[in-house]
C-alpha cells in the first residue's frame, strides 16, 4: 500500500530513533519468548522426572515431602517402612513390579540410593524412557555401584573406580564407611532428572555398611570386615520408600486405598503425576511473577515507542498539511502514523524472534550441560504465536494513539501549515 511505503520511508528518515525503538522491542520480545520457552520446557522436564510409575509409597507424611525425597532426593524421610510391609505389597496380586529404595547416605554431596536390579528394568522417566547405560552394566554384587551421569562427569569417575560412602546426607559428613568401598560398575546416560545426581548401590550394600553400626555410629567392638559381612543375612529390615507399577491402571485407586488403610504400619501411597502437579503449582507463583515482569518489560518497550511517536508528532504537522494538500485523507494520515508504529512492532518482533533463536543456539548446550534441561530449537509454538500476536496487537493499539492525534490535527489544521 502506498501509505505504508511512506510510513517506511518516514521511519528510514528517523533511523536512529527507529533503531533504538526496534532494539528495545526486539530485546523485550526475545526476553518474553525466552522466559516462556524456558517455563514450558522446565515444566515439561519437571513433569517428566518420573513416568510409568503408578504409585510411590513411603511412611505416612505429606505427599509432597514423599515426592521430594523419593523422586527428587531433596530432604529426608521422617520414618522408614518395614521390609515386611514392603514385601506384602510387592507380592500383591494387582502389582506388576516394585522398586524398593533406601536413602540416607551420600557420596561427596551426591545422594546414595539403595535399590535392586528392578530399578534398571522398570524405572522410567520422560515419555516412558528407560534408563540406559553409557558404560558398564547394573550392579550384581553387594559392593558395586552405578553412577548417574552427572556424578561420573563432575567427579571424573570411571568404571573400576572405588568409592567410599559417607554416613548421612550432608556434604560435610565425616562419618565414612571407608572400610567397605564400592566399585563403580556402570555409568548411566544423562536423563535430565535427579537420577543423574544419584549413586545407586544394592540394598544389600546399604545393609552391609550399616551392619556394624548402631544409632549412627560404628561400634568398635562389633567391627566386621567387608568379607565377613557378606556371610551375614543382608536382607534389609527397613527401606525408605518403594515405587509400584500395577498390572492395570484401573486398579490404581484401589491399591492406593489399600496401602493407605494398611493397619500394621502407617503408610502413604501417592500418584506421582498428581503430586508433581501440586508441587509445580507451589512454584508457579514465582513462575507467574517472572512472566509478569517480562510482560511489563515488553510494555515498557511499547510505551517507549509511544513516547517517541507522540513527541515527534507536533513537528510533523507541516508534513501532514502537505500530505493533505496533495490529496491525502485524514484517514491516510491516521494510517501513516499508526502504520509506523505497526511496522516498528512487527520488525521489532521479527528481530526479537531472531534474537531468541540466536540465544537458543548459543545457550542450548550450556543449559543442557548445566541444568540437564533440553530446550528444543523448533518452530514457535501456538502459544508463542499467540504471544507474538498479542504484542503485535498491542503495538497496533498503541500506534493508534498518535495516529488518532495526527488525525485530529489534520482535521483541525486542514492545510494551514503551522510551525
Amino acid at each position: 500500500m502506498a501509505i505504508l511505503s511512506l510510513a517506511f520511508k518516514s521511519l528510514l528518515n528517523r533511523r536512529f530513533t527507529a533503531t533504538l525503538i526496534l532494539v528495545s522491542i526486539a530485546l523485550s520480545v526475545s526476553l518474553l519468548l525466552g522466559v516462556e520457552r524456558l517455563r514450558v520446557e522446565s515444566r515439561n522436564s519437571f513433569a517428566n522426572t518420573i513416568s510409568g510409575t503408578d504409585l510411590v509409597v513411603g511412611a505416612r507424611s505429606g505427599a509432597i515431602n514423599l515426592l521430594l525425597y523419593s523422586v527428587f532426593r531433596i530432604g529426608d524421610a521422617t520414618n522408614n517402612i518395614s521390609w515386611k510391609s514392603y514385601r506384602k505389597f510387592a507380592d500383591h496380586s494387582l502389582v506388576k513390579w516394585t522398586i524398593p529404595i533406601s536413602l540416607g547416605d551420600s557420596h561427596l554431596g551426591y545422594r546414595v540410593m539403595g535399590t535392586n536390579q528392578d530399578y534398571f528394568l522398570h524405572y522410567k522417566y520422560a515419555r516412558k524412557r528407560s534408563l540406559a547405560f553409557d558404560q558398564g552394566q547394573p550392579f550384581e554384587q553387594v559392593y558395586q555401584a552405578v553412577l548417574g551421569h552427572e556424578v561420573a562427569e563432575m567427579l571424573n569417575y570411571r568404571i573400576g573406580q572405588k568409592i567410599v560412602i559417607a554416613h548421612g546426607a550432608g556434604k560435610t559428613s565425616f562419618a565414612m564407611h571407608d572400610d567397605k568401598p564400592f566399585e563403580v560398575v556402570g555409568i548411566l546416560e544423562p536423563t535430565g532428572t535427579p537420577v543423574d545426581r544419584t549413586v545407586h548401590v544394592p540394598l544389600e550394600g546399604i545393609e552391609a555398611i550399616h551392619s556394624d553400626w548402631i544409632a549412627g555410629r560404628q561400634v568398635p567392638g562389633l567391627k566386621l570386615s567387608a568379607e565377613d559381612t557378606l556371610k551375614k543375612n543382608l536382607t534389609p529390615k527397613q527401606i525408605t520408600a518403594f515405587m509400584v507399577g500395577l498390572k492395570s491402571k484401573l486398579a490404581t485407586f484401589r491399591v492406593q486405598r489399600e496401602i493407605n488403610d494398611y493397619r500394621k504400619e502407617p503408610l502413604l501411597a501417592i500418584l506421582p503425576g498428581v503430586a508433581l502437579q501440586q508441587l509445580w503449582d507451589l512454584m508457579s507463583v514465582a513462575e507467574n511473577a517472572l512472566l509478569v515482569v517480562t510482560i511489563l518489560v515488553v510494555a515498557v518497550g511499547l510505551i517507549g515507542m509511544l513516547t517517541v511517536m507522540l513527541a515527534g508528532l507536533n513537528e510533523r504537522r507541516r508534513e501532514m498539511a502537505i500530505l493533505r494538500s496533495v490529496g491525502a485523507r485524514p484517514g491516510h494520515i491516521l494510517l501513516l502514523v499508526t502504520g509506523e508504529s505497526l511496522l516498528l512492532s512487527l520488525v521489532g518482533m521479527a528481530l526479537g524472534l531472531l534474537l531468541l533463536y540466536l540465544g537458543l543456539f548459543m545457550a542450548q548446550p550450556f543449559i543442557e550441560a548445566n541444568y540437564g534441561l533440553h530446550i528444543p530449537i523448533d518452530f514457535p509454538s501456538l502459544r508463542e504465536w499467540m504471544i507474538l500476536g498479542l504484542v503485535g496487537t498491542s503495538g497496533l493499539i498503541i500506534g493508534l494513539i498518535p495516529g488518532f492525534r495526527a488525525y485530529r490535527y489534520s482535521l483541525s489544521d486542514g492545510m494551514s501549515i503551522r510551525l
Binding site: 502537505i322 494538500s325 496533495v326 490529496g327 485524514p330 486542514g414 492545510m415 494551514s416 501549515i417
Partner: protein, 237 residues
C-alpha cells in the same frame, strides 16, 4: 456551450469555530478557466482560509463553492479529498516538501493519491519518472545530482521549484500558490514566476496566487483584493 468557470463562489460565509467571529463573507466571486489571479490582503485577512475553502479542506458555514462546475461543499469528505487531489495543485510558502522523500518522490507524490493525475502524467507514454524529470527540466532542476540529493539539502528556491513541479504533475486544472515567493529574493522571484506562468499556460491551468508583494501584481491580468470583496466587519489587528 458556455465554458464552465474554474471557480464560482456564492454567498460564502465561514468561521473557524462557532464561537469565533466570521473570517469570510464573500457574496460573489467568479474565476474563469485559464486565468491568472493575484490575491492580496492584509495578514490575517483570510487569504489562506479562502484557499482552504476552495480546496475543500474546510467547509463553508453557509453558501456554495463550485470548482470546475462541482459544488464541492456538497460532496462527502472522501469525494472532496479525491476531488482535490485530482484537480488542484498546491505550492506553499516554505518547506513544501516531505523531508523523507527524494526529489522525484516528492514530485510524483500527488499521483499516489490521484489515479487521474497519474493517468494524465503518463498519457503521453512517458513513465512517471520521465514526466517528473521533464517538469523539473522546465524548472531547471533536472540535474542528476540535484534530483538524488535529500530535499532538505536544497536551497529555498530549489525547494520551491520542486514544489511547483509537484503542483503541476498530472496537469491539474487549478494551481493554488500561497505566498510561494516570500522566501525568495527579488531576482529569483521574477524567474520563479516566469516558470510558473509558462507551465500554467502549457497545461491551461488556472492560477490562484496569493502574495503580499505588490511588485508582482502587474504581472497578473486579474486581481482580487480580499479586503474589498470580503463583507465581514473589519477587525482591528
Amino acid at each position: 456551450m458556455p465554458q464552465i468557470n474554474a471557480i464560482e463562489v456564492d454567498n460564502l460565509r465561514f468561521a473557524w469555530r462557532r464561537e469565533l467571529p466570521e473570517v469570510l463573507h464573500i457574496p460573489q466571486l467568479e474565476v474563469a478557466r485559464g486565468e491568472r489571479i493575484f490575491i492580496r490582503g492584509a495578514s490575517g485577512s483570510g487569504k489562506s482560509t479562502l484557499l482552504a475553502l476552495m480546496a475543500g479542506v474546510n467547509l463553508p458555514t453557509s453558501g456554495e463553492v463550485k470548482i470546475l462546475g462541482e459544488t464541492i461543499n456538497r460532496l462527502g469528505s472522501a469525494k472532496r479529498d479525491h476531488f482535490r487531489s485530482d484537480h488542484i495543485g498546491f505550492v506553499f510558502q516554505l518547506f513544501n516538501l516531505i523531508p523523507y522523500l527524494s526529489v522525484l518522490e516528492n514530485v510524483t507524490l500527488p499521483c499516489r493519491f490521484s489515479h487521474l493525475r497519474k493517468h494524465k502524467a503518463t498519457e503521453s507514454g512517458n513513465s512517471l519518472h520521465d514526466e517528473a524529470m521533464r517538469l523539473l527540466g522546465h524548472l531547471d532542476m533536472a540535474h542528476t545530482d540535484l534530483v538524488h540529493r535529500p530535499v532538505t539539502e536544497l536551497s529555498v528556491g530549489q525547494q520551491q521549484r520542486v514544489a511547483t513541479a509537484r503542483a503541476l504533475i498530472g496537469a491539474p486544472e487549478i494551481i493554488i500558490a500561497d505566498e510561494p515567493t516570500s522566501a525568495l529574493d527579488s531576482d529569483m522571484r521574477q524567474a520563479f514566476l516566469r516558470l510558473l506562468f509558462q507551465e500554467c499556460e502549457e497545461t491551461g491551468s488556472t492560477l490562484l496566487f496569493v502574495s503580499h508583494d505588490r511588485q508582482l501584481e502587474p504581472l497578473f491580468e486579474h486581481h482580487i483584493a480580499l479586503d474589498e470583496i470580503n463583507q465581514t466587519p473589519v477587525r482591528s489587528v
